[in-house]
Symmetry: D2
């Protein structure tokens, strides 16, 4: 890829950024880091201060999410707090690649949200789906093969996850609201049901819908003896009190890509950044 | 299904309508036919005249497409021409289920287009994809298993077809314009390329895009020795002159569901009609 | 591949041998033909007489089967009969690669049976399974996707065929006598039943077992309305009289590789011949 | 299942036996336990002494393996040692179902080895393969989807594992010694190589062969940067010293069924016991 940008500064984030940086180094770019003082297994990076990184870099890369409080850069591996307004001087001057810019209290020219790059969310459905399978394997004493699995929802994650469960030899049922999606589900050799009428008996239930579809009543009918992996963002899609009363274990599994597959996730970030560079001619 | 409609009259169409009618009879409905005088293997239907069918029916079912000329009902199995305006008397009085109503010169209350029902097009992608595979098997002296297949386009048909080819053990590459689609393709364990930059060497090429993506230049690069199955509606997506010069055989395969799987297609029509009945409370 | 054999003479056989020969020419060998006077689409070969082919060739390749009557070479594309004893002069002098040598009335040094080469039969299961699927598609008005398929027997063909049907999105049940095989079937995400107790209702039944497992009684229970593809060698595994009484269509599909995929089959022959050359140091 | 045996005594073993017992209780049998004093999550069993269990039981079920030292019953959850010779009194009187009876210092009438039941080993390949995938997911920062996987060996485990990896969307290469197996591998849409000539570059390597195929030389060529999961029994199939020198992590994963999927494994034991009961008419 021909680009004017030859040096990148990573500011904040977790192991995903380290893998992203390493992969960009392997591609021939020069890379520096700020906010990675806590050592991570498999990495030995030189952690610089912010101004030094800014000085060395043609562009900056912030994590996803770039901030959680609108004040500081999300930097769980840093030893000291990094404030967003320390970036003020570079705004509009150097490209900043950032995830979930909607959380920023400002906007700026040359600010690019790689998490909105088309393909980013779908690509992340892969580590999310694998993470869900890993959690199910770890917390269940059965096998996925031969088990009755329900995937609630047929968005990005439901689509990738149900195909993987099918590929492992599970008996897969997927729920979707739209007849169009149910037609795709059936075409994929899986069983389709209406998300509004969850029925059946399952060994494993994976929820991907951020609505309380797994209500007390539904749980009583479909989930006795099942393990539930809830992938929907807080507060999730499961009536937890009811689940507890019914002794149905629920694992709320969030932010899986960074947890279970930082290497794959780092590559997804890199690809999204490269895509923006190409598209924007940076 | 509880419905006030208990008797259905099929007017025009091909074997799909016969299968649809038989399946509705098996569901307990009473069914009559007009426009099916030419006997079809496996069927023995009593072919009535139009007024008699109208008299006996709570609702009418026309084929997809319901007309080709805006004047007559599409009725390839009829022995005499059926004019659309013979239906005038029932307009607005009895429900008419119809495919591709955009071809009609009029509109009417109680006119329902089952071909626009969500799920109908996706469901038809299945017989289309299987038909494409059948044609490839018939016209190629190789096997799908182990062959290098390119599917151009990742809409409904491309998505279903590429999964089936993968399931048969082919080496599948799919082209798509959107990075989002390419991410789904890769997640499905297939190779993704940009529809705007078709590259590689293939044994079988399936086109689903109604644009001339398979131009002379592209053909020369990817298709020498390949068989092309073109599924895109006229004029298709292949530069036929170039293909002929390059001795690349092209099979233009249209309207596959009715040709290769009228039984499955009839059931899809039935499901769409039932869906409308439920939704509209007919 | 380094070999002393540089020229090959094809004597008898069908389109598979033509594809095999073409592929060997592409690999750099010199090739001549005897018994191919009837022109085949896509081929223009010079058909020589036997003595001329023998003179030009370091080795001979006979078809599979090499003979049907123990007297003449199986040569359906020849215009005159080729007698096996015309080969007497070369016995033991030049290597002869042959299929199904058990049908020959003699044996000889330097006679190699490529059809017994390990891997040959498994490789041929692929075109056989695809051929079975093609026939089912051609003769059935439904789709494989979503249909209930029964595969009787889990030998080479049953194993490859059931995986392909599964990959097309069918609901696959496979019968096997051995619990060991049934465990493999279940591991593959399919339903396993005992070949001795065929139960269920199916849309498509594929028989691979050369025993009358599909007796009148069994047919009555599982096959009403089904299409049967019988892949077992004569007399097949279906009680034909019973099937006729029950109006169950049976397609007896034999020698599929040569019929539906001569190109793939020709390559399989070539690979087997090459394998023998390597193993024997010819 | 009609059987004279109505009560079963479980003596020794781990959580698999608890799941097996629970499942048999659900089938209506009466069950007692000896050697399960250490409480296991999800289970509350009454742990009796041996003589009491023997008195109450029509048949006994010992674990797999039934002993490790030929002296005591393998009973990791027991609080006191159980000696094999305490069973002497029941020999030949009541059926004893046992795993790996070859480790016993005696034989006896009415002693049945369920681990030798055909199908048992194949059924256990499923939890083994899933366990291998779980370990790979836990120890690798990438995803299985899209990764280059090598499975060394195409026995029971290799066959099930490679299909699962393929189903998760990995790029799967399998090595096998026999051309016959390689033909099956290719038919399954995977890449086949010779176990004697391991080549390529991989992200994940799964060894199933109890021979040192992954020698120093081979490792240097195929495994730099890879994670190896070795499933072969001690001493495994990897040159560990070489792997360490090359900084290639090796996880030696043994006895996976009991560790990762005791519930599934318990059901496999139950099915094998039931199978013997049916076969032997007990």
């Amino acid at each position: 890829m021909m680009s004017k940008l030859q040096s990148f500064g990573f500011i904040g984030g977790d192991k995903r950024q380290l893998y992203c940086g390493r992969s960009m180094e392997e591609d021939g770019y020069s890379v520096s880091y700020c906010g990675f003082a806590k050592e991570q297994e498999g990495f030995r990076v030189h952690d610089s201060d912010l101004s030094s990184v800014i000085r060395q870099s043609d562009a900056l890369i912030l994590p996803v999410p770039c901030t959680k409080d609108g004040l500081t850069i999300h930097a769980p591996l840093a030893e000291k707090t990094l404030f967003l307004d320390e970036l003020t001087e570079v705004f509009g001057r150097v490209p900043i690649f950032c995830g979930m810019t909607q959380l920023l209290p400002f906007t700026s020219e040359k600010l690019y949200d790689y998490s909105r790059q088309e393909g980013f969310a779908v690509a992340n459905a892969v580590p999310t789906a694998e993470g869900a399978i890993q959690y199910a394997m770890q917390h269940d004493d059965g096998t996925i093969n031969g088990s009755r699995c329900l995937v609630v929802g047929y968005g990005r994650i439901g689509r990738v996850l149900s195909a993987m469960l099918h590929g492992l030899g599970a008996e897969v049922t997927v729920s979707a609201r739209k007849e169009r999606d149910r037609a795709f589900i059936r075409a994929a050799g899986q069983k389709a049901i209406d998300s509004g009428a969850l029925v059946g008996r399952y060994d494993l239930i994976f929820n991907t819908v951020p609505e309380r579809l797994l209500s007390a009543q539904v749980l009583a009918g479909i989930a006795a003896g099942a393990l539930i992996i809830d992938l929907a963002s807080e507060p999730g899609g499961v009536d937890r009190d009811a689940a507890e009363r019914l002794s149905i274990p629920v694992i709320h599994a969030l932010s899986l890509p960074g947890k279970v597959a930082p290497k794959a996730s780092g590559r997804i970030i890199k690809n999204a950044v490269y895509h923006i560079i190409r598209e924007e001619g940076l």
